[in-house]
Symmetry: C2
Subunit: 182 residues, 2 copies
DNA sequence: ATTACTGTACCGTCTGGACGGTATTGTCAA
DNA sequence: TTGACAATACCGTCCAGACGGTACAGTAAT
């Protein structure tokens, strides 16, 4: 792959693309701009990602890996416990929200270019739902919690978030109650 | 405005743009294609909407009006009743889902072009949240229900929906329970 | 010699939008 | 009644710029 010490050019390029998607809007991510932002020549960019589609695939994979890593850490502790998976989801969102992690804006850039690029994310999401249902004490309630978290994550992505911090905290608290009540 | 008998050119153009956004993807909605689909020349399109931004503004307004109309009809019956607003939201989603109404794909085309175009939708959403809270018996639960509905609406928009019909029905049923339990 | 680029010069395509025309209808003075 | 003009609602063409992608010569490190 790459010398794991410093960030590889690939990583810098992916990071630059995600930043740009947030800054100039997901519809205006040009290869020239990405290369400039990443401190790489356009030739260099196309050396690493021969087409724009390959770059966008890498962005989607990056977001998924990021989430999966954090998720695996959370779930190792309470994998088999009743409602362990959905609890982990709530806690994970709470943590990301406290750390003011930005939304996964790279997804939109990929979606725009070609909806098929979302396929890996769909597969991941489906697996997540299966895991949630598998050890949920109340499947219906667990699904609602899952959907609410998705709402909390999607609304900012679509620039549609209107909740105050207090409202978000209130909702997250209620999600906690729902999963601990079982 | 226009003779209210036949659909005006403006309406045809907006409808064509929404359809195209769904068919070719929100990032590939060109004025030429919209004009062709609407049965109008490009000059005619530009006559009705002097810039692409104006067209996208009209699309956003169209989606909002559509939702608002249906919402007002629902809410007239149980406006002041406890949990009346959030109940109306659940029922409205259920109805749209049963009728297999497509997601508001025009939003994405607007978001891509210019995130500011989502502002009217944000204003509407904020008003909706205020109304929900105003007559909710349990604000936290009502917020969770609101977020779950948004999740149900946003996931298909992002091509991320992975739920089976049964799972969706189960979740909607649970939402009903949550609001009627108060 | 190979790897991993840099830098520059292009090419073809697509797209938003400007522009000049045109058909129809309405208005209104002579 | 009619001729002059104007507003409305388009049509069809053209163009400048942006963008994805190619090609290729050079270079510095391993």
């Amino acid at each position: 792959m790459a010398p794991p010490g410093r960030p590889s050019s690939r990583d810098k390029i992916v990071a630059a693309a995600v930043e740009l998607s947030k800054e100039v809007g997901p519809g205006h991510v040009s290869l020239d701009a990405v290369a400039q932002r990443a401190g790489v020549s356009k030739g260099g960019l196309l050396y690493n990602f021969p087409t724009k589609q390959k770059l966008l695939e890498a962005i989607v994979a990056h977001h998924i890996e990021e989430f999966e890593t954090a998720f695996q850490r959370k779930i190792d502790n309470n994998a088999d416990k009743t409602d362990g998976v959905i609890s982990a989801c709530v806690e994970l969102f709470e943590k990301k929200h406290k750390n003011k992690m930005p939304p996964a804006s790279g997804f939109l850039a990929a979606l725009i270019e070609n909806p098929d690029l979302m396929h890996p994310a769909r597969v991941f999401n489906r697996r997540l739902v299966d895991m949630i249902r598998a050890n949920a004490s109340n499947e219906a309630a667990a699904l609602v919690v899952f959907l609410a978290i998705e709402g909390l994550r999607c609304l900012p992505l679509l620039d549609l978030d209107v909740l105050t911090k207090e409202e978000r905290d209130l909702a997250v608290q209620e999600l906690h109650n729902m999963v601990s009540r079982g």
